[in-house]
């Protein structure tokens, strides 16, 4: 598998999400579409983490391996080793998943408040303010 395949896949997922977020009327569907956008980003991040960083380390694999081994032996904090650069993309993806969950929780809370006020969750009906 090439990096390109993953990136094209992630681009497609992101675009479907963007289209859905801009065109759907139901707030819940819009929230789902936004979630799709985040997942498109996550796929790209993890693909980069797998393909791009090892190439950089491949330039000098001996030094990289020695550094990882030393870090593991001495119990040094991961932040200062090659090991942590290997994982940057995946760590980023985990942060995105976590924060997206918080975002949806807040969104659903507001959707419930909105439904109580006007008995609809249609975003095209959210047009009290204009100008």
């Amino acid at each position: 598998m090439n990096l390109e395949n993953f990136l094209i896949f992630s681009g497609i997922i992101f675009s479907i999400g963007l289209y859905g977020a801009l065109s759907k009327k139901n707030v819940i569907t819009v929230l789902m579409s936004i979630e799709l956008m985040f997942n498109g980003v996550n796929i790209a991040l993890i693909a980069f983490s797998r393909y791009v960083v090892p190439q950089r380390i491949a330039a000098d694999p001996v030094a990289a391996e020695a550094e990882v081994a030393r870090a593991l032996a001495e119990g040094t904090a991961l932040g200062e080793t090659v090991l942590s650069t290997l994982l940057t993309g995946q760590v980023f993806a985990i942060f995105i998943i976590t924060i997206a969950a918080a975002e949806v929780a807040l969104g659903l809370g507001i959707v419930i408040a909105m439904y109580r006020n006007r008995e609809t969750v249609d975003v095209t009906q959210a047009n009290l303010m204009r100008g």
Binding site: I34, M37, L45, G79, E103, L106, G107, M114, M129
Partner: protein, 495 residues
């Protein structure tokens, strides 16, 4: 994580703990008036930590302390924004006292969410890694969304859901841009991004590479949403109108300051190699924001909506400073653009807060945000009217006010960076804005009042009004000291 890391993070940690203390006190205490006092007095803790950190900086050879796996930096730039955010929070809390006392429940949460968001803003100015930038950005935004929907009536929830959906969409776009940057450079650290870009750019392509071209544009779109730049401004008027008015004031100054802090840091440090490309992008966005904001503001009848469009126009003025980059400026004056942005942010903060505080005090009594309801305020509320008029003069940029000095620094930076066309657009826009700003003053002084009842202001909001009005005057007459501090603060961006 070491103890020193915790010390570097102590202003943010103490601010977030203060937010939790306020929420807990709300459950325990019967007299809710104490909550605002605790929020303001409690700010002394992060203030003390920040002052102590500022003192420690002088002992550092390169003027910065890096911690928490190189994701957080304490330097004069981040401390400048910490002080600014704390000042804004203190003033907004003081002005909210009367507004909040009329809420039936969740008064503690109101102050608590405001403090959480402030800790996110302080963190945002101090991040040096794209991952922590994103986390800080959401820590800033999510409490603000909850605050926008705080009243839970139709308008407020509508503002909240619009804010949430658009901010989530813009963060997704921002993340895609960050991901492309990460894929191109193999790192999320700003300093390393800078180092690796230097070696791998292709001079024939704009931005040095197609991936980076797309990535930078997406990052600009994501941050442009935060600072309310056209064409990412759709949410601004609706959220400003629907949110509780003190929150609108908070949103318009604090969130913008944090947005510019991270833009300056990411672009000047991370993308310093391609500065000519993104500076052109910011110059165009700046011209469009000024023009669209001012033209649409003319038609507004609601004063919060009018100030929303005015805030879009001011984002345009601020971007003039971002676009005035070092590469075109003669040596010795390199910091003029960014330090002008910092000065303008403080000037805009005191000015806009003064305007909003006067509006809050007036509309608390009249119960209306329409410009027409400000008729005859020159007689009914002479103190509030004179401060609102003074703030409007400063927004317009007439001496001797802070707004004038801000624009002066901004435009002189642009002139020195060969952006004369942008200065022309800015001056023309200042003239356009006179039309709708002066309309408010005309309504207050020339139109007969609807009632004769005088409007009185409580002590805390009155103090906030005095402080902001004095700030406008002081910065307008003695801009020197603040400008010196701003120049020291932005020095870390040029290394």
């Amino acid at each position: 994580m070491t103890l020193h890391d915790l010390y570097l993070l102590s202003p943010e940690l103490s601010l977030a703990s203060l937010g939790m203390v306020v929420i807990i006190l709300d459950m325990v205490l019967r007299r809710k008036g104490v909550l605002a006092a605790v929020s303001v007095v409690g700010l002394l803790a992060p203030l003390a930590f920040s002052i102590s950190l500022w003192g420690d900086l002088s002992g550092e050879p390169d003027g910065q302390m890096v911690g928490i796996f190189n994701t957080l930096v304490v330097d004069k730039f981040s401390l400048f924004f910490k002080f600014l955010v704390m000042g804004i929070v203190a003033l907004v809390v003081m002005s909210s006292v009367e507004y909040v006392s009329r809420l039936r429940q969740f008064q503690g949460e109101y102050y608590g969410l405001m403090l959480f968001s402030a800790s996110g803003m302080m963190l945002l100015a101090a991040t040096t890694d794209l991952i922590s930038t994103y986390v800080a950005l959401e820590l800033t935004t999510l409490p603000l969304v909850a605050l926008a929907a705080f009243l839970r009536d139709s308008r407020s929830t509508e503002a909240g859901i619009k804010f949430l959906l658009l901010s989530a969409m813009s963060s997704a776009v921002l993340l895609y841009g960050m991901t492309l940057t990460y894929g191109f450079t193999g790192t999320t650290q700003l300093v390393e991004i800078f180092e690796r870009l230097g070696a791998s750019l292709d001079a024939t392509v704009p931005f040095g590479s197609h991936a980076l071209f797309l990535g930078v544009i997406m990052i600009v779109a994501g941050f442009g949403f935060k600072i309310a730049a056209v064409p990412f401004q759709m949410w601004v008027p609706d959220v400003y109108e629907g949110a509780p008015t003190p929150i609108t004031a908070y949103l318009s100054v604090a969130s913008k300051a944090a947005g510019f802090a991270i833009i300056l840091r990411v672009f000047y440090i991370g993308f310093g190699e391609i500065s000519l490309d993104w500076a052109a992008l910011f110059a165009v966005l700046s011209a469009v924001s000024m023009t669209v904001g001012n033209l649409v503001a003319i038609a507004q009848k609601n004063i919060k909506r009018m100030l929303a469009y005015s805030t879009i126009a001011h984002a345009g003025f601020l971007m003039v400073g971002v676009a005035s980059i070092a590469a075109r400026v003669p040596v010795g004056e390199t910091t003029l653009g960014p330090s002008g942005v910092l000065f303008y942010l403080v000037a805009y903060a005191v000015t806009n807060l003064a305007a909003f505080f006067a509006i809050i005090a007036i509309s608390n009594r009249t119960g209306s945000d329409m410009i027409s309801s400000f008729a005859g305020m020159g007689r009914r509320a002479p103190f509030l009217a004179i401060i609102l008029a003074f703030a409007i003069v400063s927004l317009l940029g007439i001496p001797p006010t802070a707004g004038f000095m801000g624009k002066l620094y901004m435009f002189s930076a642009a002139m020195k960076s060969d952006l004369a066309w942008l200065v022309v657009v800015g001056v023309v826009n200042s003239a356009i804005s006179a039309y709708y700003y002066l309309k408010v003053i005309r309504v207050m002084y020339m139109v007969d009042p609807e009632g004769e009842e005088k409007i009185h202001v409580a002590y805390a909001p009155q103090a906030a009004l005095y402080i902001t009005a004095l700030g406008i005057l002081a910065l307008g007459i003695f801009p020197g000291p603040l400008m010196t501090v701003a120049e020291k603060a932005v020095a870390v961006l040029f290394r």
